[in-house]
Structures are given as structure tokens and as C-alpha cells.
């Protein structure tokens, strides 16, 4: 069981929270300009990081507010909790950049 420190409510059990997937996936500036592949990548393609990973969480049975969290996907260590709309601390950790422009493996076949 993870003990997650909600920015509003303090440390609570993981079961009080819901996961919101990868953080910092920006909505395309002009969705109509995207072709099907780019749109599919925006919708469905996410980083699968080993190590520090920025993700969104919501404290659903508490204050019902969203926040971002930097969590190590190997050790489950929570490295940072920071508000929505702010960049990830450190910045360079994998999964902390906006959905990368690189095509996913095998996409060009």
C-alpha cells in the first residue's frame, strides 16, 4: 500500500486515490492538423518508463483534487508531489516531457 501525501489533506492510503495516467501530455494545439497516426499517438501512446515517471492522481475520496506526482516505477518511491499545471521538478526525468515526438517502436513499418 502506498502512502500518498495529498497536497490538501496530507498522507492517506493509496486506496483513497485514483490514477490518471501520464502527466504533461499536452492537448494538440490544432487537433485538426493532426493525421490519424499523430492523433492516435496523442490519445493512446504513453511512455513506459523504468524509473522516475510523472503521473496524475486524484484524491477521489478526500478533497477530490488532481495533482501530479513523480514516482519511481521500480521502487515505488514517491519523489515529488506538485500541483497541476507546473512542470515536473528536475524536468529531465523520463516521462516528464510532453508526449515525445519520437515515433514509437515499430511505428514506421
Amino acid at each position: 500500500m502506498l502512502l500518498i501525501s495529498c497536497p490538501n489533506c496530507g498522507p492517506r492510503d493509496e486506496t483513497e486515490f485514483h490514477y490518471g495516467g501520464q502527466a504533461h501530455v499536452a492537448y494538440p494545439e490544432d487537433p485538426y492538423a493532426l493525421n490519424d497516426r499523430e492523433w492516435a499517438e496523442y490519445l493512446f501512446y504513453r511512455d513506459n518508463t523504468k524509473g522516475a515517471y510523472a503521473e496524475r492522481w486524484v484524491h477521489s475520496t478526500g478533497c477530490r483534487q488532481w495533482f501530479n506526482m513523480l514516482r519511481d516505477t521500480v521502487s515505488y518511491e514517491i519523489q515529488a508531489v506538485y500541483p497541476m499545471g507546473t512542470p515536473a521538478p528536475g524536468g529531465s526525468a523520463p516521462g516528464t516531457t510532453a508526449n515525445t515526438a519520437q515515433a514509437p517502436e515499430g511505428a514506421s513499418k
Binding site: 490538501n8 489533506c9 496530507g10 492517506r12 475520496t61 478526500g62 478533497c63 477530490r64
Partner: protein, 212 residues
Amino acid sequence: MVETAAATASNNGVREARRSPAAHLAGTFEAASLAGVAEIKEIPFQTMAGIRVQRDSDAGARIAQVAGGLPATCGEVVERDGVSVLWLGPAEFLVIAPENAHESLGGDLLPALTEALGDGQGQVVDLSANRTVFELSGTRARDVLEKGCSLDLHPRSFKAGTALSTEIGHIPAILWKSGEDTFQVLPRASFADFLGRWLVDGMREFASPEVP
């Protein structure tokens, strides 16, 4: 004449027809309670209003005047004249008042709150039927809750006059410590039956005669 007016206010027919979410458990609660050790009862039909407003806005200030204040931090409860305001989120509050504050019984809490909000950003919603209230009291009340609530309920960290939104027996509920040995548990109405029975089950060991 006075009698008739009073009768109309409290007996407009709806009140008698209402059945509280845990009404069917009243006998179970009574049988499971042991005075002073672990007691449970339902306090049905409390008037509740959900408020969503920014505290520091003009509308927030107006609502605070009517409600008696808006709590600033997690856990804080503001009480004035029997009306309590619980903190649910940075811009979300729950007002709890006695049954007769509802306009169906002649009260004016909700219209007053709605008027205070005016055209400001936010909302005032009648949530009186959303939750029911279980009052769990007695010297063993904390032990009962600790069986299914992962919060630190020790008095040094959970003080009387604090309310937290959490999970009790895997049920999302608001836990409000209204007195040193008194807890108000507010589950949603549809969870009242399950959580009521769950609490009774947790009380059993304390409310039974001690095995020598």
C-alpha cells in the same frame, strides 16, 4: 390556531412518509449498543447543503456570513447556532443543520445560502437526502472505527471538532469527531445499510458481556 400552524409546518404529510436510509436497522442498533461503551444510532434527515465557492471571493464572503464561516483547511469545522460547515475541498463545503432548517419544515437555510451566492461563481445544492448520519459514541467508539479506517484516530492527532473525508470499511464516508468520544459517520444513503451493519459487527466484541 397556533397549534394548527405548528402542525402544518411539521406534519405536512411528507415527514411521516419519509423513511430514513437505515430506518430498518433501528432495532439492530438498539440491541447492539451498550451505554457508555459503544452506542450507535441514526440521526436521520439532517438538512445538508453542498457548497462550491471560492473562499476568498465576494460570494464566498457572503455565504460565510450566512453559514457562520467557511473552514480554511482540511479537517476544520466551523460551528454556529447548530449549523456546522465541513471542509470537503479547497472550494467545496458541506453545511449540516438540524432537520427543521429545511424549507419543507419551515426553515430557510437553503434559500438564504442561495441568495447569498447570488450570481457569484459557485453552487448551492440541497444534499439533505444524499447522506445519513450515524452517531457512534462511547469509550470504545474509536476502537470500532479503527477496525476499518486507516486514519490516525488517536486524540493527539484527531481532535474533537475535526471532520475528514475518508474510507471506513472500504466505504467512502465523512468522519466527524463531534465530541471526545462521539463520532458522526456520514455515508451516502445507499451505503447506509452496509456500513450500519459493518459498524454493528465491529461493536459486537465491546458491547457483549466480558468472557471471564
